[in-house]
């Protein structure tokens, strides 16, 4: 299996430890992972703002960078969703079609391709699970609270493989954190309010660490937590799964 690692732009620049954790985790699970040079971004920031046309050169760059791999794995549900769903606006060459099937979020890759059912990982903490929307309702990483359907939740399945993790109960299992890309800047008041409400839900449960499959959600929540002077930390799921603590 030829596996490429795609580290989204903002993780590359601001949360490199998430990229490190993702790479180390995959390597420990026996994968040989390549990190193609010159990768940048999936194009979501522009497309989300309505500027799909401005994003197309970035889409093409992504396709050039990642052509020829069996799987592209990324620690980002929203980036994987964007490639699979919204790259329908460029010519559907064989390379594009392949990438639109084989760009996977980390949790999908672990469970559906590697079929991981145990992890030698330890992270003793009370953990609040934030189910990032694009992963949950976009990639269907879980059933979602809206639908009447039996389905496993990828993030819960993986967390349950980690020693010491205590998953906290929440009042609202999968309400949006309020980041929403362009929304965070367009409607900052509602964005922050939504983030505060999520944090309050986690705090009421005595959570020590909030985790998610999308660092964008966590960046937004962390921004508020640190402004509040809260001791609650955020950790991407990759960091917890890679924890040997």
């Amino acid at each position: 299996m030829k596996i490429a690692l795609f580290i989204p732009c903002y993780i590359d620049q601001f949360y490199p430890q998430v990229g490190v954790a993702t790479l180390e985790l995959l390597e420990r699970l026996g994968c040989t992972v390549e990190y193609p040079e010159g990768q940048t971004c999936c194009g979501q920031p522009m497309a989300n703002t309505g500027c799909e046309q401005d994003a197309i050169p970035t889409y093409k760059h992504y396709v050039n960078t990642f052509s020829g791999y069996d799987y592209v794995v990324t620690p980002s549900g929203s980036c994987a969703y964007h490639v699979r769903k919204h790259y329908d606006v460029i010519e559907q060459s064989p390379a594009v079609k392949q990438l639109r099937k084989r760009t996977l979020d980390l949790s999908e890759f672990l469970l559906d391709v590697l079929k991981v059912d145990e992890l030698k990982a330890r992270f003793p903490a009370k953990v609040g699970v934030h189910q990032s929307c694009h992963g949950l309702r976009g990639l269907r990483l879980g059933p979602g609270s809206e639908r009447n359907i039996e389905a496993p939740s990828a993030i819960h399945t993986l967390l349950n493989m980690v020693d010491g993790v205590e998953i906290a109960g929440l009042d609202r299992a999968d309400e949006c954190c309020g980041f929403g890309g362009t929304f965070a800047i367009n409607e900052p008041d509602i964005s922050v309010k939504m983030g505060k409400d999520r944090i309050a839900d986690h705090t009421r449960s005595g959570v020590e660490v909030i985790t998610a499959g999308d660092m964008s959600c966590l960046m937004h929540l962390e921004g508020i937590l640190r402004r509040q002077g809260s001791p609650v930390q955020v950790k991407h799921i990759a960091e917890i799964l890679n924890s040997q603590a």
């Binding site: 601001f14 989300n48 703002t49 694009h134 309702r137 009447n148 939504m194």
Partner: protein, 456 residues
Amino acid sequence: MNEHATKAAAFIKDEARTDWHDESLWFVRSKRDKAAHSIPEWEQLRELASQIKDHTLAHLDEYLEAFEAKAQENGVTVHWAADAGEHNRIVYRILSEHKAHRIVKSKSMLTEECGLNEYLEEKDLEVIDTDLGERIIQLREEPPSHIVMPAIHLKKEEVGELFHQKLQTEKGATDPKYLTEAARQHLRHSFLKADAAITGVNFAIAETGGVVVCTNEGNADMGTHLAPLQIHCMGIEKILPKAEHLGVFTRLLARSATGQPSTIFTSHHHKAKKGGAMHIVIVDNGRTTQLGRPDFRNSLKCIRCGACMNTCPIYRRSGGHSYDSTVPGPIGSILTPGIDLKKYSGLPFASTLCGSCSDVCPVKIDIHEQLYKWRQIIAEEGHLPAVKKQSMAIAGSVLSRPGWYKAAGKSARWLTRWLPRPLVYNPLNTWGRDRELPESPKQSFQEWYHKNRPAS
């Protein structure tokens, strides 16, 4: 800031009230969840409803013609209105022909959309909205904030004060039972005196030529069965092919709207009562245009249940009035840009695209995908603020060029690490108003990789 953002910011200033509004609507969402989870075939019903509506839209003209023919066989007069103005004129003409002056109206988002009340009042007709929530906002002279619960934004103290002023209830009385009883007595007079009753239509059945009106209060029925003249106003998209399809839709509608297994009253009107007259007004008002938009025609499947509003985290925290549209919330945000792209260009952005709306929609409208697609059109048509357009063009250039991207990233990290805090957290830094920026790591992942995984 776009209009919705400005109005939302004003709404959210009262945080306690915002929390109250948010929790009221979340409660309705959780009742919906309970109802949906109690029906094992719930997702199947949604799929059936979606397919029935898809099929109907593909044969809409045939079904409308069949509907009209059947209704006419039943002695019902059917009218067609191309737009809101024509709808209002037709309704007025029918009322004039029957010398109707006192009109009672049950909930109809279509008549709101057409501005019927204002039109008829200008002609000196008395129009009383008889749904309690609608009557409350009518007395307050404001629009509804939710399509199913028009007064959800009001506290009982506010209703108590309103009724004290308008219905002479006791000052300071806030007990909902007492206030509802007062409204009951007041509206009963109106029903008994009415010359005409106007209703909306939840479902129109092509097979039988009848219309179905769903209420909990019984107000639509008190109106239609007492007044000699009944007028039912419907959008073209309300058609269902057969009576058996009502089985699917009546099982989905109330559960999605409020979590009830059905509305209390599901009334099927086919013929005028003895000595009475029944009219149906079929309205286009932009719906055929929407039908012609492949990316957006799904929005015509909407059965106006309001579930998308109840689940929307933005709607719950900003209130229906901040959308400034007859139908607010997620569904409103995909219908209105089709009516006036410029005026409503902010609405598709009043969303995080979380997708919850699409998953509660009983007819599986892909609301969040349509919001995304409207954003593309809004940008293409030049309705984005210039600054935004420019910054996205720049972002597009930088993010497609590895060299530029690396340089930009490095500078951003350096600047946020070394600039004095007041400079970083300046008034232009919208993010930084209420949130800390992420910490600036010394090296990017790429830099780490080159150091720790030397090229083979």
